[in-house]
Symmetry: C2
Subunit: 237 residues, 2 copies
DNA sequence: CCCGTCAATTCAGTATACAGATTTCGCCTT
DNA sequence: AAGGCGAAATCTGTATACTGAATTGACGGG
């Protein structure tokens, strides 16, 4: 109120402050604009928005309870996931997403399929241009679209939660051309299955897609371990 | 501090107040000691514990974000789940729990299996006595035990979340002798699979168990609809 | 130059206070 | 007595203040 917020473009659409801040932070996390080295301090965020600590604190606590942040004695931060954490997350995703994809294939309407097509085009162009950030953005739109087609909101939200967590650590790998091609091909296959309303194909391809994502992540890890100096690349905002 | 808490036996084990209250409420919800007609008012709970609103409020907000409560304009309450909600919850459970059961069968240690045996005995005795509350309690211990054997904490916690939500609405059905027998037989089968460390059997039986639970719930619903006067039975404390 | 100690700082957790919205309940009208 | 109007009560959301614990950094001894 006193200053225009540096945290977001415009935070002001008649919802509780807590929700606005939650959504804002959630979005920043999704797009990798907050890295593991950043420290989120409720007082600072509040001051930068010209509001009090409490709504910010409550939003941060919710993000913690959802696994998107961890609370330290010195500020809130993005968790440093271990390889085991990643494996655990992928295990859950492998159980949920194929099924949800099959549901989506059945329930997607024309508008949804059109949006999938647009997201796919963006992704293809991004890979062409080697633009990792754009690929991430297109990926997010694509996923959100087929998830939104699911009538089972609990299932969709649970998937979104875990997918976002995995996504954060994959940002790095999505910069590599090899991985980008794999992602593109996966999206092409999924889009094909969705647009044909082929639930079985969607299920199988989603399972394969997730498997590939996991594999490419751990390949990236190994490379980084064998070749440590390539492992820099800003984690911060 | 000023008064001994009516909320719990002893809330005082060197953790943040927010966690203590969260755990306390979570437990009450699990055991059905808070029904859909109760209104949870942060100010009142805080006063009864001799503390301030904020820790209580934060615990309630977390329970909302996990789906265990809903916020109204007049206090927090247990959600009234529709049949579709229940189907959605069971859909997720059917995807996750068989796999987790297989993991547990592999990883359970002797102590865990012993605890499963005890819980099973309690359940059998409860069914014998027609003691619904005791069956609920034994059920909770049984589930918690095999879930705790899972190394994938995210998977275990997600399951616990959904299972608890389903459990709340099933409290009613667990009073019926017919359902009690089904539950008992299911637990016997699961215990057998776990104690033999037979992952495949655990997986299959868990799938069957959940299917039975869903079926018996909807059978109960139909009966209640056809026969409304039997549908009373305290929901609140 | 390194290590330990102690003070200043920083931040989460908790407490208390205030504001706005909604509901409840009593009173008045008809 | 039924219905509507309005004041009081109630409860969430937000703001501000306080406290204690943990970290940082400076100072002094080895």
């Amino acid at each position: 109120m006193t200053t225009d917020s540096p945290l977001s473009s415009t935070v002001d659409r008649s919802e509780s402050l807590r929700h606005q801040i939650y959504n804002d932070l959630r979005d920043k996390l999704r797009h990798g604009r907050i890295g593991p080295d950043d420290r989120l301090i409720d007082v600072k965020i509040a001051k930068s928005l010209g509001i009090s600590r409490m709504p910010v604190r409550e939003a941060l606590l919710q993000l913690i309870s959802e696994g998107h942040l961890v609370g330290t004695t010195r500020g809130f931060a993005v968790p440093q996931l271990t390889p085991q954490d990643i494996r655990d997350i992928f295990e859950v995703r492998k159980l949920l997403e194929p099924r949800a994809a099959a549901s989506a294939a059945r329930d997607l309407d024309a508008a949804g399929i059109a949006m999938l097509g647009q997201a796919l085009e963006r992704a293809v162009a991004a890979v062409e241009a080697g633009d990792g950030e754009e690929l991430v953005a297109a990926n997010i739109v694509f996923r959100r679209t087929w998830l939104d087609a699911n009538r089972n909101r609990r299932l969709a939200e649970t998937i979104a939660r875990f997918a976002d967590q995995a996504h954060i650590v994959r940002q790095q790998t999505l910069m590599e051309p090899h991985t980008q091609v794999i992602v593109r091909d996966g999206l092409v296959g999924l889009h094909d299955a969705f647009s044909r309303r082929d639930g079985l194909a969607a299920q199988d391809r989603m399972a394969a897609f997730i498997g590939e994502a996991e594999k490419s992540y751990f390949r990236g890890i190994d490379n980084a371990a064998a070749d440590p100096q390539t492992h820099q690349e800003g984690s911060g905002r």
